[in-house]
Amino acid sequence: METFAANLLNGLSWGMLLFLISVGLTTVFGVLGVLNFAHGSFFMLGAYLCMQIMHIVPSFWVGIIVGPLLVGGLGVVIEKMLLRKIYDRDISFQLLLTFAILLFLDDSVRLIWGPGYHVVEAPAILAGTIPFFDHTYPIYRLFLVVIGPLIGLALWSFFHFTRWGKVVRAAAVDREMAEGVGIRVPLLFTAVFAFGSWLAALGGALAAPHQSLAPAMGERIIIESFIVVVIGGMGSFPGAFAGALLLGLLDSFGTAFAGRAQMALPFILLAVVLLFRPQGFFGRET
């Protein structure tokens, strides 16, 4: 029982982090049609900036609000100066460009903050543990389990009840149509990319108290987020949620039951979904 509950919580908290990262990735793909390799670098920047801000203002909450906003600003610059120029190109060019951005950002982080490991403290209120069967469980992980769906709900309301959200959804479904009905697409693209970067950075800032910071830390997470996006359905918001949860749970239960094959599980899942339901769980028929 304890094993099951622990694995469930472990999987959920990891899944929630994956969700935050993937939802930005999937929205950017849905609207801009760009699969952003540098998304993991925004995740990394979010964590580093949160740490940097905490050195200036010793508050995790300030860090988690200001840090991702700065990354969102960087997203604006990158979209306007670089991505915009290659929307009409093949997807391979987009991968190459975002890969170049990834190289640039990863090395910049190493130059600015040094190559060593850094650690970010959780805020005092979330730092402790609570009793959990015979052992204890960290509050911060529970916080992740709770905050994930909350952010998800906020995003969902945004997409469904605000004008901007509806515009984004419409553009994700059909870009030409959106243009046709008079949506200012360039502005929309900038906003969506900035939004995606902000979400990735928010994921990074939330992950910071829970994993060590090192250059290129985003590269580890990017492939898993790709998998989430694909199995959930490219561009699908509920898909990202379901995919992230599934991958998180697979990770934790796989550790307990699959032994060394656990390493291949996400890729097996990816292949199986693509073979039998290529549009993903929530994707539209293509």
């Binding site: 190459l96 170049a100 190289l103 950002l105 990863d106 890729f267 097996i268 990816l270 292949a271 293509t286």
Partner: protein
């Protein structure tokens, strides 16, 4: 003279020139640059095999390193078991990769575009996991270090592949055969069908071609040639390791092909050359090569929409026409 004959004659001359320059390299270049050139032609050939799928068939594979790695492992396993015939060793690499590509391709070629990229990524990483975890056969994460590699034996004449010059000439001759094969293939009726699949697969299906079969053939050949490149790479580095199968290794041919130009036959190899030379020049100057490589790649992507070689060829053509 018809236009196509002209192109062919021009190309024939260029091919010969290129081959002559490459064959002369061991007598001109310092050893280290010869080693880099060996790496360039092997990786360039790998990228060209990838481009059979990407440039000619329109399928962006993200798991090509899987077949490269299968080739490397088959080669390495045969060497470890004392087989000394290089023909046999490299054929095993090709065959192993062909077989793996046939099975995986059978499942993958149903999918298009990004879905194809992702499913090949998935299968490539499964191959990686096998190499990483099947310790008894593949040596696990350490891979297979090759303590001896066979010598070239030809009619009583024997030279060691440990000599970088012979390693280079051997790779060059094997790769030239591979390149000729690729060239013939892309100019054959089959090559035209490939291009047609890329341009408009619905129409091709309509006129009765089996699109899936065409794609599968292309996928399998590309896999087999990647296996050849992998086998050579194993000989060149005296090792086969799981790193050769990782997705980050699969991204190399993508990078090189896009950089060089996927629309030009030698584009990917050109991209490989640019990539390695650039890396060497940058690491000579600075330790922070990643930031400079990134900064250099960005304008390439933006200002060379057909890759560097592709854009140059385009410019030359346009000037000639005007």
């Amino acid at each position: 003279m018809t236009n196509s004959a002209k192109i062919l004659r021009n190309n024939g001359f260029l091919f010969f020139l290129l081959f002559a320059i490459l064959a002369a390299a061991p007598f001109i270049l310092p050893i280290y640059w010869l080693i880099i050139l060996t790496e360039i032609i092997i990786m360039g050939f790998f990228a060209m095999s990838f481009n059979l799928l990407f440039g000619f068939t329109g399928l962006l594979s993200f798991g090509q390193a899987g077949f490269f790695g299968v080739g490397a492992y088959c080669t390495a396993l045969l060497i470890q078991n004392g087989i000394e015939s290089l023909t046999l060793i490299l054929s095993a690499g090709i065959l192993g990769a062909l077989l793996a590509a046939l099975i995986i391709g059978f499942l993958c070629v149903k999918r298009d575009e990004i879905y194809f990229s992702m499913i090949t990524l998935g299968f490539g990483m499964m191959l990686y996991t096998i190499a990483h975890n099947w310790i008894g056969v593949t040596g696990g994460s350490d891979g297979l270090p090759l303590c001896t590699i066979p010598a070239i034996k030809l009619m009583g004449w024997e030279v060691s592949l440990y000599d970088p010059r012979w390693m280079y000439l051997f790779s060059l001759s094997v790769i030239s055969l591979g390149v000729l094969l690729l060239w013939r293939l892309t100019r054959s009726p089959f090559g035209l069908i490939l291009t047609a699949v890329r341009e408009n697969k619905e129409r091709l299906a309509f006129v009765g071609a089996n699109v899936r079969w065409v794609r599968l053939t292309s996928f399998t050949i590309a896999g087999g040639l990647a296996g050849l490149a992998g086998g050579l790479f194993a000989l060149f580095n005296c090792m086969a390791t799981p790193d050769f199968m990782h997705w980050s290794f699969s991204s190399r041919p993508v990078l090189m092909t896009v950089m060089g130009g996927s629309g030009i036959f030698f584009g990917p190899a050109f991209g490989a050359a640019i990539f390695f030379i650039l890396e060497q020049l940058i690491t000579n100057v600075t330790e922070n090569w990643m930031i400079f490589l990134g900064a250099f790649l960005i304008p390439i992507v933006i200002f060379f929409p057909r890759g560097i070689l592709g854009t140059i060829v385009e410019l030359v053509k346009r000037r000639r026409e005007s």
